[in-house]
Symmetry: C2
Subunit: 281 residues, 2 copies
């Protein structure tokens, strides 16, 4: 089990990894019961834990040159237990500018989540060379509606003890079952213990809002992610993050969702897409 007693922030304690002695890149982890939706670990939380193991495995063979996840793709195989596990990493590419590493979360011999990361170094002075995705017009965060610890349907949200989410009131109709039907949620994100955002925590942020299907009448229950991809584009500035989660189309019990994350400067810092199961009717 990782020794995390000295980590000052809950996110770092819950995503801690401890490398086993030996030549293989195997890390012990503990899936934390506090970062869950009901009794299911949040997908972004798991992705951040896997990234930590993968980045450590890259650093072990290459040194500290590629400390940030630039791209991440995850396949969710089955919901992990809230229990210890191990992450097996394999460095796939060792390049000058980028590395790639595959990570697998295993519990009781079974694969629970796989994720592959492209890693590199983000530069705080880097500027966007082309393109802009403007932050959506929203009221000030203190005019938002805070997410409660319980979701529609009575599902408990232990993760809300660690992550504060407020919603733009224009997209918060689902709280009172008055859904707009647009398939879009907008909100703000911050850690309850004021942990600063960094590329690792952006992997949590891209899966931190409820599914955008909450805004669509006739869908029920939680939305299990099957496949998720995230790109981390810049180092986030201090302050709360703005997040927009949009549903694309629902067909055959599957929904695609696009997530965008801006920092307090209004700069796009993370993008993600996922395909998830959804119950309709």
């Amino acid at each position: 089990m990782p020794d995390v007693s000295d980590a000052p922030f809950a996110f770092d304690r819950a995503t801690a990894v401890a490398r086993r002695p030996g030549p293989d890149a195997v890390h012990d982890v503990a899936v934390d019961p506090g970062w869950t939706i009901g009794d299911k670990p949040n997908g972004g939380y798991l992705l951040a834990m896997l990234a930590r193991a993968g980045l450590e495995s890259v650093a072990a063979v290459e040194g500290p040159e590629h400390p940030h996840p630039l791209a991440a793709t995850a396949t969710y195989v089955s919901a992990p237990s809230l229990a210890p596990g191990e992450v097996h990493s394999e460095v796939l590419r060792r390049g000058r500018g980028m590395s790639q590493v595959r990570t697998v979360l295993v519990q009781g011999g079974a694969t629970k989540v796989e994720a592959t990361f492209t890693c590199g170094r983000l530069d705080p002075d880097e500027r966007t060379w082309w393109g802009e995705v403007a932050v959506p017009p929203m009221p000030a965060p203190d005019g938002g509606r805070r997410s409660a610890g319980v979701a529609p349907g009575g599902i408990r949200l232990p993760i809300r003890d660690h992550v504060d989410v407020w919603f733009d009131p224009a997209t918060a109709g689902f709280v009172s079952d008055d859904r707009a039907g647009v398939g879009e949620l907008r909100g703000w994100f911050r850690f309850v213990d004021d942990r600063p955002s960094d590329p690792l925590s952006l992997l949590l942020a891209v899966d931190a809002l409820p599914p955008a299907t909450f805004d669509i009448p006739g869908t029920t229950g939680w939305v299990p992610t099957l496949s998720l991809s995230a790109y981390i584009r810049a180092l986030p500035a201090p302050g709360p993050l703005t997040i927009r989660q949009r549903a694309g189309i629902i067909e055959r019990g599957l929904v695609d969702e696009v997530c965008e994350v801006w920092d307090s400067r209004g700069r796009l810092v993370a993008q993600a897409t996922q395909l998830a199961g959804v119950r309709t009717g």
Copy 2:
């Protein structure tokens, strides 16, 4: 080497896989020199080949219930040689409605491409339950500008012997270096030998247009994909496909692109996103 002498269409011959005897899911493949950009295999072509091996591996343990790729994530580690290789598959999830399988293309002991697929069955009678992504307004395909066998910079395009791509004239300025600067390309896709589209060939289609950065002044050269994710949403109707490829932001030598594919009914059948390297200035 796979025996493909009886496959009537070039795409099926070039993506053929031949399982080796034995308990492990290892398929022999041959990376075809005809499906390349310069001397680099097209990323969608490689993804389709890996999908074929993965789907066969799923069928070997579960039967024919999950014949279609629903989600695919690929990490491109290094450009494969135009030579034989092997695909190692591992079935990760065996479920009633869906299976998941990881595939790795190996040449000379080195990992070249990894891809994980979520597989299931698409139903020809399925309808979209919610949402719509409208096909962009475009002239009739015969008013389009056909892609030549040579790209800007003089790069040869052997893949154009197999895949016809026409461009919407409004987005074809790059051909004469008169780029619109919008970061969007639109076009049509069909196989030269009239092979019908299916979920497997949609994995090619999502990477078949040139990079949308071609529409942006100041970018040069080809755009190597690092990470690509695709969702196949419906069985395509006969006829040419419409494809839109859009660039998001360019920063730190990386560009995100979104690709959407519609069939001849105007129905969205595939979606993809990728992060790729791009040279600027």
